[in-house]
Symmetry: none
Subunit: 422 residues, 2 copies
């Protein structure tokens, strides 16, 4: 199965927004053993969208179209599909009702142009909308198929997983292609891509011969480096077994060379790793943030059920807030002592078991004699106080984002170390 992705929207051609959809779809298709040989971007112009669709249908078995399904005059993907399918657009009253109900639920009247979203090319199947007002479409064209989804990533990804991927895999099976592909991502923090690559270099070369399992390194910016293992088996059990063996081997190689850098698997985040440790030990947490300005707290509350272990935090952006609210001794606020005092201060104020604090220099100018990127993490684990000093690269937003995940990683390691057998 060759799948081509066509992203629709003049804003893509003008470079006003990045095309994250094609990248995400490319990753998903590859992870599921589906080939993708071309992507296209095309603007909001009927004739050119039709040309892009026909070009894609000429060289692929399936086409995924993102964007142009909204309710406005420049959303013309539906009309272009009807042209390519050689059928009329027919208004679907069920969709009209769904959209009207959505507006009613928010106590808003439905503007008439939303009715456009209920127009369906004759012969197309509807992918019911669950997150936005635009439904998706599955459009058979001869032996081929064209899928259309909204360009909003949040709506696109949900529809892809729920409706498009199952349909693609069913078509692939019909064509007699049989390979089950399973992948697993090991998430790391605190090591470079090249160090990880070196740690597994020999195994990487071995695997290039066998062809059953592949390893890829994905630099994921502020979320660390991902090591993706992909196994291709004749059936599900074989793919799982290959993947399990490989994971154990790779974890061993990385742990031996680089220590405890793997913090999670697949979609697990650093905050998930923290949540698990705190829940297991029945500990509560409070955070005090300076340069991160609430980033750490906002990551922590993303974990479902955070209220059982997360008390809250103080964003002590102004120095006086550190002195007055967190009882930090008056003096330089970028120092190991200040970080520790913040951790103890917030732990006391919010009556938590553990206090985590961050203070440092986001830049661009130095502060308290420290260069931008200098960050101190303060820890107070039930009265046991410590600190970690970091040197982080990048501009303000990056220093801030790196500080947040680094502080959580420091807490992860501190908890593990405290509980390690001596």
């Amino acid at each position: 199965m060759r799948v081509e992705v066509v992203a629709v929207g003049t804003e893509l051609l003008l470079g006003q927004i990045p095309d994250t959809n094609s990248q995400w779809l490319g990753e998903q298709l590859a992870a599921n053993g589906l080939s993708s040989h071309f992507h296209q971007h095309v603007g909001d112009n009927l004739e050119r969208i039709v040309l892009a669709f026909r070009t894609a249908l000429a060289r692929a078995d399936a086409v995924i179209v993102c964007g142009g399904l909204g309710p406005t005059q420049d959303d013309i993907t539906r009309a272009a599909i009807a042209e390519v399918m050689n059928v009329p657009l027919v208004r679907d009253e069920t969709i009209v009702d769904v959209i009207r109900t959505m507006f009613n639920a928010r106590s808003r009247a439905m503007p008439d142009n939303n009715l456009l979203q209920a127009d369906v090319p004759q012969g197309a199947r509807v992918i019911a909308q669950s997150r936005g007002t635009a439904p998706g479409l599955i459009c058979p064209i001869g032996q081929k198929v064209l899928y259309a989804v909204p360009g909003v990533p949040y709506e696109m990804t949900e529809m892809f997983e729920r409706a498009i991927l199952p349909d693609l895999l069913a078509r692939q099976r019909e064509q007699g292609e049989r390979a089950v592909i399973k992948s697993r991502v090991l998430r790391t923090w605190g090591s470079s891509e090249s160090a990880l690559a070196e740690a597994v270099a020999d195994r990487f070369t071995e695997l290039e011969q066998s062809g059953r399992v592949t390893i890829a390194f994905l630099a994921s910016g502020i979320e660390g480096i991902k090591v993706r293992l992909t196994a291709r088996g004749d059936d599900d059990a074989m793919a799982r077994a290959l993947l399990g063996e490989e994971e154990a081997l790779i974890r061993g190689l990385i742990g031996e060379r680089l220590g405890d850098v793997i913090f999670g698997v697949d979609d697990e985040t650093m905050e998930d790793a923290i949540a698990r440790r705190l829940r297991d030990r029945d500990l509560t947490l409070a955070v005090a943030e300076s340069l991160t300005g609430g980033l750490i707290a906002s990551r922590l509350v993303n974990v479902p059920g955070a209220s059982t272990w997360f008390r809250g935090g103080v964003v002590s952006y102004a120095s006086e807030v550190k002195y007055e609210v967190l009882d930090v001794p008056v003096g330089p606020v970028v120092s190991p002592e200040a970080a520790q005092a913040m951790a103890t201060g917030v732990r006391t104020l919010l009556r938590a078991d553990v206090g985590l604090a961050v203070t440092g220099v986001a830049g661009p100018d130095p502060q308290d004699g420290h260069d931008p990127g200098t960050v101190f993490v303060g820890l107070d684990l039930e009265g046991a106080v410590s600190h970690v000093r970091l040197r982080l690269p990048g501009d303000r937003p990056r220093v801030r984002a790196y500080s947040a995940i680094s502080a959580l990683d420091a807490l992860r390691r501190a908890i593990d170390q405290r509980d390690a057998p001596r």
Copy 2:
């Protein structure tokens, strides 16, 4: 002049790296009045690269190819160009010398596969390399032209500005085309895409006739809806004038129908809008957050110079933190009264002029008798207390993100209203 961008590299199709080159080139082309109707991604496969080039040449006047000019076996852009130009590749000894000198300067021997980078399709002009080892190419094909540059952004941008853009503009002048394109984005919050489209529907239809200015709507998720105006003038002054007139007109139409929903222009964020108002009035701000868990504070510190007006905040995630730290009367914590008490509490604790607070139900379960998505924003402007009730759609992360920007928008409107002439 219609210019198509073709980005070469299997890593793009697999989604392993984002394609920032097409986005950057799209921006540059638009800014210089050059049309771009399509982009393509293609993998490192000779037959498919040739097909992508031919497809692009069929629908554009000029093609810019990024990537596949490196020294390894999978760098085959040069061979594909020779195929499309119907000429042989000829080794250019001048380029060999340049590359050898580069290696010598770093005291390294040149690996033989670097010689591949000296192969030039007969009839092509070389764009001398200045930042990497791969030269670029200018390849005339009949009346059309294909440019090839390395995929490394740092090398690509330099060659585009130095050699490709001047060549494109010269060709455009030869064709007698003269157009300068300018665009502006109006950023809105609090209105649906369809309501905005309806507000300007008549004007939209008028503009479709004239062809000088276009309007597009971009749903930008939690950042609201963007209204993009693009004007095409014979020269810079004309494009600016067209854009200025259209902006005034559209602002009028939107304001009349939907009120004060435009909060910024181009890259301005909601927090920029808040920062401007606070700075202008010499006010300081403190925030108290429950369900947003630090999101509001972390947005505010993104504004350069936030320390002059932002004091900090309290993330009162646990109810006891609201009672004990913020002096909220013991009782239900999802209520207008609690929101207002949080605003006053944090304003007092952090000694700020303005207190902004958010409490509500992120879901999935109801709380204090309120459904998920029920959110109360509390405001305390130098002692003047008020609240806003919101009903927000989506799952936990979305309710939280919408709450953050909605709270900032409520503060924006409250400040403007207080200062409005009566």
